[in-house]
């Protein structure tokens, strides 16, 4: 039963993709409905897996040869993330019904979104590295195709291609890890790898561990690969909410959490992981502070929050990272969708051209505030509990310098969140056109996500039990929700964090009085606007590659004599090289 449910969680949305695409763009309403039905069905099958989690069903299909087995495993971590992918996916699809109303090429849009939902479920349910990489790359493909959905816009195209290439470059790390695992253990099974990782030569394990980190950093938009995510904001907003906030970008964190037991002992790995998390959290927070584009600000905030999760894994807080992942998936999807509602109504993404929208869009303001509450980490929203848990893990199990950095990050988060809310919903309006509040079809998913943002922390208890019981290699301890809540509310660290968050909030409110602080901070702001030089590295790599191609192209003269000379030259060269190699091998 569970076996079937697993394959259905992947297969149902894929079937839906095929169907919606075949329906044809002449029937947009049928497409909207079919897409919603299939994504909801996928959500249903994923949820139906929950009762079976305890027995950890495994479905193994032998392919043979070097392709080993295609294995799906329904353990706590996989099912949890499959549920996030399909449920948030359904909400994003329902939201799309309103957001994409009247858009062209809907078939392609929904087919790709459904393909993505299935692939994401496959990614987290995959029990072997080959299948994991297979789905990993399909999500990248869908992400690319959806970022550049508006193919007529060159920015959308370049954003999509950039996302594809950058995540793939990092993905080579995962490829290396998978190949090393198979090369040494003759099996792709992740659980086999976790059980036998210690038998691998230390250097090999170390390469595998850092390969995983590279892949995770690229997928989760962490330093130094973070630059693709802001450019991915050219995608339609529901796609940003689903792929670039709630699901795909989590895959990197998932990978690190999944493989943590194998790599925890690798020298320097944990420090590297937490440093990547820390740098991402801080740098992206600064960038969010200087962004004027609403979606880019949210994208930087996503990088920053993912930094918290990566940092949590780095200090050994696997549960904390996944708990924050859950909170973030819900509240960031909420923020992106409500931002989508705003953009849909206003027709621009520039926050300077918004302002005062609260009066015109009370519903959106209310739900956005709920999301902002969670993002800033203020009490009783889900983000509060999960962020505090991350910080507490950091304080107890990580280095102090990193903890201080993350604490600063929490303050910055509060600051840029408030800035965003104020610029969009309060103050004087710069909007000239008539603005409508979200339509009922948008309100439904927004309402569900708002409810989630305020309540998912109640799931902490069942969630720890789920993970502790089904992840034999992670050694997690169980905890009830009440225990967790009490622990967090009474910890001195929480008070400290809330103090920093409060400072961040007051920094925005008192920004006019802090005027003289702005001048010394100016260079920092400038650096943040230029993404701290990372964008420059990308550009130089591109320019370098194109330059090499240009030089090479000049050698292709098309002259017959020259072409024959190349043949003769190559023959002589081969003779020389051959005698050299043979002499070296023999002598």
């Amino acid at each position: 039963m569970a076996t079937w449910l697993m394959w259905m969680t992947i297969g149902v949305p894929w079937l839906g993709a095929l169907l919606v695409w075949r329906l044809g763009d002449e029937r947009p309403n049928a497409q909207h409905h079919a897409a919603a039905v299939f994504s909801l069905l996928a959500g249903g099958t994923a949820l139906a897996l929950l009762p079976f989690v305890g027995e950890t069903a495994v479905s193994r299909i032998p392919v043979g040869g070097v392709f080993g087995d295609f294995t799906l495993v329904a353990d706590g971590l996989g099912v949890f993330l499959a549920i996030v992918a399909t449920v948030v996916g359904s909400l994003a699809v329902i939201f799309s019904g309103a957001y994409m109303h009247g858009a062209a090429q809907l078939g392609r849009y929904y087919a790709l979104v459904l393909l993505f939902i299935g692939a994401m479920a496959g990614l987290v349910l995959a029990g072997g590295f080959l299948l994991l990489f297979f789905f990993w790359e399909i999500t990248a493909l869908c992400s690319y195709a959806l970022i550049s959905f508006h193919n007529d816009d060159p920015k959308a195209v370049s954003g999509g291609v950039k996302a594809l290439i950058m995540t793939q470059v990092g993905g080579v790390g995962l490829l290396g890890l998978a190949l090393l695992a198979y090369g040494y253990l003759s099996s792709y099974e992740i659980n086999t790898f976790l059980a036998q990782a210690h038998t691998l030569p230390a250097a090999v394990l170390s390469i595998a561990a850092f390969g995983a980190l590279a892949a995770a950093a690229a997928k989760s938009a962490q330093v130094p690969f973070q630059t693709w995510l802001p450019d991915a904001m050219e995608a339609p907003s529901p796609v940003s909410a689903l792929i670039h906030a709630a699901t795909m970008v989590n895959a990197g964190v998932y990978l690190l959490a999944r493989l943590y037991p194998a790599f925890a002992a690798v020298p320097g790995w944990k420090t590297a992981v937490l440093t990547v998390g820390l740098l991402s959290a801080l740098l992206a927070a600064f960038m969010a502070l200087t962004a004027h584009d609403l979606k880019r600000a949210l994208a930087y905030s996503t990088v920053s929050q993912l930094g918290y999760m990566v940092y949590a894994v780095g200090v050994g807080g696997v549960f904390a990272s996944q708990f924050h992942l859950l909170s973030h998936a819900v509240f960031k999807a909420l923020l992106f969708l409500s931002a989508g509602a705003v953009i849909h109504a206003v027709g621009t993404r520039d926050m300077r051209q918004m302002g005062g929208l609260g009066a015109m869009m009370p519903f959106v303001r209310a739900v956005f505030l709920a999301g902002a509450l969670a993002l800033a980490g203020l009490p009783l929203a889900n983000g509060f509990f999960s962020k505090e848990l991350v910080l507490e893990e950091g304080l107890h199990h990580g280095p102090l310098w990193a903890y201080v950095g993350m604490l600063l990050g929490a303050g910055l988060t509060a600051l840029y969140t408030l800035r965003m809310v104020a610029m969009v919903f309060y103050g004087e309006t710069a909007v000239t056109r008539r603005v409508h509040d979200a339509s009922p079809r948008m309100q439904l998913p927004l309402g569900v996500l708002t409810f989630g943002s305020l309540t998912t922390w109640l799931l902490a208890g069942p969630f720890t039990r789920l993970l502790a019981q089904t992840l034999p290699y992670h050694a997690l301890k169980e905890m009830t929700t009440l225990e967790m809540a009490v622990e967090i509310l009474t910890a001195p660290a929480t008070a400290l964090a809330l103090l920093v968050i409060g400072l961040g909030l007051s920094a925005w409110l008192l920004r006019h009085r802090l005027h003289r602080w702005q001048r010394p901070l100016h260079p920092l702001a400038q650096a943040a606007v230029q993404s701290f030089g990372f964008e420059r590295i990308n550009q130089q790599l591109t320019v370098g590659t194109k330059g090499a191609a240009a030089v090479l192209s000049r050698t292709q003269t098309g002259q017959l004599n020259w072409n024959v000379a190349a043949i003769v030259g190559a023959l002589l060269l081969v003779l020389v090289v051959l005698s050299w190699i043979v002499g070296w091998l023999v002598g």
């Binding site: 040869g65 793939q168 080579v172 190949l179 090369g183 590659t545 017959l560 043949i567 190699i581 043979v582």
Partner: protein, 516 residues
Amino acid sequence: MMETSPLFWLIALPLLATPLVYLSGHLAQTVTRRETVNGRVARDVALAALLACWLPFTWAARELAHISAAHTDALTFGWGGLALRLDGLSLLLTVVALGLGTLVAFYSGPYLAADRGQEKYYAMLVAIVGIMIALGCAADLFNLWVWFEAMAVASYLLVAFYHEQPTSLEAGVKYLVQSAVGSILVLLGIGLVLAHTATLDLQEIRAFVATQGALSPMLLAAGALFLIGFGVKVALVPLHTWLPDAHSQAPSGISAMLSGVVIEAGLVALLRSLGPLTAVAGTATAWAVLLACFGVLNMLVGNLLALRQTQVKRMLAYSSLVHVGYMLVGVSVALFTGTAVGAAGGLFHLFNHALMKGLAFLAAGALLYTLHLAVGDHNPLTVNDLAGAARRYPLAALTLSLALLSLGGLPPFAGFMSKWQIFVAGFQAHNGWVAALVIFAALNSVLSLAYYAPLVNSLYRLKSSELVWAGKPMPRTMSVALALLALPVVAIGFWPGLMRWLTEPAGLALMALFGK
């Protein structure tokens, strides 16, 4: 003997059909005095001949499976100077040549409808299929060279099919001269082998080499001559200069054949001739290193040059260099480690490349036809021409996108799986250099997306180019051919085990060539 050998019929059928195809087309035109009838008749006869070849093929495949459980034995056929052996490797090349040839004959009907001399085209197409099957089966160096030269001659005529277009002529001239130089180098290599071993039979050469303890400079030089001589046809960088011209200027069906099978047939010829020589006193590693070097060059140079192309078919031609590089990496790893995984991987990639590059050229050709040729202009198809093509030609756009993404190594398409197998083989070597080679290959795969992806984006633009709206409707036969080819590209991407019956014996046969 002759009439009971499936191998004989497999080769004789297309070769005997060649004059028949030509004559039937010619006669039909003379008798009916109608302009276009020659093409239709010739095509039907050609198609019938190629379809008929599947009978002896099935027969041969069964017999081969029957005689050899380990897949290292071969069906043999000898008659006078003719010496043929059908092993797993030959079978793979046969499937590719016959499969793609049949589809191309089917596809070319509307593509060539307005051209003169179609009966020659179809006759040469059928001939080249038969020749390539024979080339794959050659049991001695003499047969290998003769079939190789025959393949070259047939392809010169096909490349310069549009012999009133200056660019086609230029491509034909360069192809002929460079390929002839390569062929002469091969002959010199054969001379050296003959002088040294007193035989041309590949198995006897291997047996001779195996008994020799000492290193023979003459055989090494012969190996180098084979590598460069056949390498011209395989398009090893820097011998590749004819390829982008020839592959982009030929009629698209022929581009598919050239990129999908002809360069691969050259690779098979190269491996067959080089195989016995790699057994010379510990030089296997040297040859593996050399093949890997060419693999690296091909991947990098092919990608960088493809990056600059604005003409679709020329870009696809450069991408063929890249994919030859992957095959070489697989073979080199196999030669280095002495295990069949890499060999089977490289040959799996050969098979998949025929599918995906064949599909890419046929789909691009379909668009070239509807946008340019059908309205009577011979300008090349550029990336900009294709803007928004998906709105009018959804199937061509979809299949071209699938082919490009598969070439770029993305799942769930065939190219991902064969690259995976090559990479696995590399990492099984537990050697840092080989691992670095694999990582380099993987990064090149990423680089290639920098030119495949924008093309896909262009296809799905909402604003279509004027050419797209002025284009002619897509003929149904073309759509059918594209769909037939796209199906396995996706199926193998989901289920890589689908072709193991073919690729694993081929890998073992290749290892047998290397004496492993």
